[in-house]
């Protein structure tokens, strides 16, 4: 099945696997959030529907490695939710990782553009 941008889901999943933790860190750099809200934000950002089974292990790993901190808070009239926010080392990591990703993606872009525009 293809997504709106024509990328089939398998490939999108492969691409996303390497960068999902960085995207999550970047979203949390804006404001603290909980799992379901993050999946909505990723969807809105055009990255497709990330399932809970994919997202929560990433959050757990980020929590374990000290890049995010979590606490439970009652929702307004709804169920309690586990909120995540960046720690200082998470803020440092998101700057470093996004710099590295942009450099890497830029090289891929350069290569593809060269390939497509060369005679």
């Amino acid at each position: 099945m293809d997504g709106p941008d024509g990328v089939d889901q398998d490939r999108r999943g492969q691409w996303l696997r390497g960068v999902l933790d960085v995207c999550v860190l970047a979203l949390l750099a804006r404001h603290e959030s909980y799992g379901y809200e993050l999946t909505q934000a990723l969807d809105r950002a055009g990255l497709g529907q990330i399932q809970g089974g994919t997202l929560y292990p990433v959050l757990l790993r980020l929590q374990r490695t000290g890049l995010v901190a979590a606490h439970w808070r009652d929702g307004e009239g709804g169920p309690a939710r586990k909120y995540y926010r960046l720690t200082p080392s998470g803020e440092e990591a998101v700057r470093r990782l996004s710099r590295q990703w942009r450099a890497f993606a830029g090289r891929v872009d350069d290569l593809l553009l060269e390939e497509v525009t060369s005679p």
């Binding site: 909980y34 799992g35 399932q51 809970g52 929560y56 374990r64 439970w72 169920p79 939710r81 586990k82």
Partner: protein, 275 residues
């Protein structure tokens, strides 16, 4: 499966992986909140309880494992080992060097000489040519056999312990605690011939590891294990490695291979130890 049953199954599965009750509760509560918020059925959002629990445990395990120490001295060196039975070559010239704190996996099709090579490394079988040097105490776990039908598990512990310079009480104690880590409590009056295949393999594994040998040679030791015990087995392998033992595992299950230090593929034509 209803979401409630799915969440219950997830809790049980996490407990089997021996997550703390606290952490288990948090993971289940978070999944429940997600299901309420998203309105999705659990199977669609998270997959099977078993699969999701495994993903959760893996995301935690990478942190649990202490940083790897650099490998130590060479504990096992097998050089240019060959073996023939009559005219049939079962093993072409094969090398393997394993250092303290390393895990080597031996893989390959059935009949390519994996068990033969391991038995030669264990000193149970003579090679036609080549040489094996072992530095330290060696523990060997065969694929099957290796237990004595009419002996009790405790008598096995005492027997192996005696060979490693341990007294009877200590051997029994170490054997029982080793069994407990595999979720097996040996009955005091059950002879080995009455144990199930999987339990006999646990006995073999406990014997191999008794007294913390320096070199562990394990020939598909998890046959007949249920899934929980199989996962436990690999946790033991990582712990032994972190304690500085040299470990060789014959395996046909490839999903652990990205975590071992070297893979020796004995399939003819691919004979090379890749780091």
């Amino acid at each position: 499966m209803t979401d409630e049953r799915w969440l219950h199954a997830l809790g049980q599965e996490l407990a089997r992986h021996r997550l703390t009750p606290d952490l288990t509760h948090h993971v289940v509560a978070e999944a429940a909140a997600h299901l309420r918020d998203s309105g999705q059925p659990a199977l669609r959002a998270f997959g099977t309880p078993q699969g999701y629990a495994a993903a959760v445990v893996e995301s935690l395990a990478s942190q649990h494992r202490p940083p790897r120490r650099p490998p130590g001295r060479v504990r096992l060196r097998a050089s240019q080992i060959t073996k023939r039975y009559g005219r049939r070559t079962v093993l072409g010239p094969t090398d393997l060097t394993v250092r303290a704190g390393e895990v080597a996996a031996i893989v390959g099709a059935n009949g390519c000489g994996k068990s033969t090579f391991l038995r030669i490394c264990a000193g149970l079988l003579s090679p036609d040519s080549g040489e094996v040097v072992v530095d330290g105490v060696l523990g060997y776990c065969p694929q099957n056999g290796g237990t004595y039908d009419f002996l009790l598990p405790e008598e096995h512990f005492v027997l192996v312990g005696a060979g490693r310079g341990l007294d009877r009480a200590r051997s029994r104690r170490l054997g029982r605690s080793g069994a407990a880590t595999l979720q097996w409590e040996p009955a005091r009056d059950t002879q080995a011939r009455h144990l199930s295949g999987g339990t006999r393999q646990k006995l073999n594994l406990v014997m191999a590891a008794l007294g913390d040998p320096d070199v562990l040679l394990l020939d598909e030791p998890y046959q007949g294990f249920d899934r929980g015990a199989y996962l436990d087995f690999w946790q033991h392998v990582w712990r032994w490695r972190d304690e500085g033992r040299a470990i060789v595992v014959v395996t046909h299950l490839l999903n652990q291979l990205d975590q071992v230090d070297q893979v020796l593929d004995l399939t003819p034509g691919t004979r090379e130890a890749a780091a």
